[in-house]
Amino acid sequence: MKARLGFLLGPPLLWLVVIYLGSIAVLLVSSFWTVNGFTGEVVPTFTLDNYATIFTDPLYGTVALRTLLVALGVTLIDAVVAFPMALYMAKVARPSRRALYLVAVTTPLWASYLVKAYAWRILVEPGGPIAAATGGYTPGFGLPATIMTLAYLWLPYMIIPVYAGFDRVPDSLFEASYDLGASTWRTIRNVAFPLVFPAIVAGSIFTFALSFGDYIAVGIVGGKTQLLANLIYGQLVTANNQPLAAALSVIPLVAVVLYLLAVRRTGALENV
């Protein structure tokens, strides 16, 4: 028993703990180091300077907050859009069509992320399709376009768990609600929504985490906006300040871990 458990658990744990957590640890350790300003060599002497920089320079706070709002905004939009779609797929569409719809919402995941982001660039540009369709109105490049694009990119990651969530709600609960005199709206609000909430949370893990770490899409449609990952990338690649980049990485790291811990109780992790 023990031996078999060890055999099963050993390799994955070794991989995840040694390779993954080990690397994260290396990253965290390096966030306490500094860099030789001239040669760009990392100097492994302990210092809290990087953290001091992050906490004192208002730039980082501002950008972190902006990133948090973007991630939350994207999550909210995806939840709002995915909810009726998943409801339709699970409870309105004919059962024989469900697989078809699932394929339909999953397929866009295979088109390259970059190409899709670029397509959004074309969509929102002045004179682009959105402007053409709305008679000239378009959000243009900037924060709204970034949020829209990210929401688009991660939408399937929200629809799928919410669909699975609806699928697990027995039809009889809807019927019971109507039977007791509730309207459809009321039933959706008081019965359906609370029951698929854990599934929404599961989806939000993706939308939140992926948005929090994005630096490419924002470069394509964000106009002059920058997000936290742009700063990290900038410090790492442009400024060659690996320790500061590592220290900055701690912000999304903590944000995501806190988020995961918060949603863990809903059982959402298993629905990912």
Binding site: S172, E175, A176, Y178, D179, G181, S183, P194
Partner: protein, 363 residues
Amino acid sequence: MSHQPAIRLTQLTKQFGSVSAVDHLDLEIDAGEFFSMLGPSGSGKTTVLRCIAGFEQPTSGTIELFGQDMTGKPAAARPVNTVFQDYALFPHMSVVDNVAYGLRVRGVGRAERRRKAMDALATVRLEGFADRRPAQLSGGQRQRVALARATVVQPKALLLDEPLGALDLKLRQQMQVELKQLQHELGIAFVFVTHDQDEALTLSDRIAVFNNGRIEQLGTPRELYEHPASRFVADFVGTSNLFDREHARAVLGREGEFSIRPEKLVVHTAPDAAAGAPSATGTIVESVYAGSSTRRVVDLDSGLRISVLESNDRTHRVELDRGTRVHVSWNEEDLRKLDSTGPETAENADVPHSSGVQERQDS
């Protein structure tokens, strides 16, 4: 009780694709009666109930509730409530919130609806469980919460789809008693779906026996049991010894198909004890002790295998071993002549066929 029925179905038909789940059904259920729908799986009981509740729209025909045509009205607008087989309790709400839900959607204030819900919980003796989640309750308790939830909104009729199907025997018997009591107290019609004939017999004022989307027979438990209109009913409601034309001629000396209930037969070892009543001779094949009764399987000399049910009452009876020669007697008036119109779908389940039980596809 006014003359107007609580529920009136007229030529109700429901088709699923090419399947007629319900087939031109006419039915009236009176206010205050305990009405059961009994029948084999797939015979359309649930479909009828769901049409009454408003979860299904009939293909044709009308549904009247208390004199008002309700065909096409949504479930929320109908003065009837349903107790679901799987209870359909809202898992994310506490017990009391579940019960109060119907009041909440009607806009009853928080305090009042809690009070009323607590009262309803009291009637099913679950006051102490108000703040639990459904998942923390046993099957029987959930059943009672479902009852409280459906009755707190004071429906004019209650629809119950195999509400006891998921419970085990003891609990089921207990809940049967409680259901019957509740119906007495509320004084409203209960429309009760089951495929357990014992349950239907003991609880109901009237029973409709369904078969293939139609009502095969409608009547009181006694009418159904004592005067089954067809072989199907004779067989489905209780167990019967069936005499086909040949055996009827040989054993009973009469023309046609007949049935007789096992408890109407008596087994004697001495021929004279059977004197004065018609009788036949045979051999005991098996005696099955069942506590309050003993079932004896007898192979008649004519080749028919029959079953006799003896009450283990205070009369002392002799032990009858396998192979004992016996006389089986009956009263002429307990024989029932069958119109053999009904299709033969149920089988005489508890009498082992000498030639092996035939294969059946239903479950």
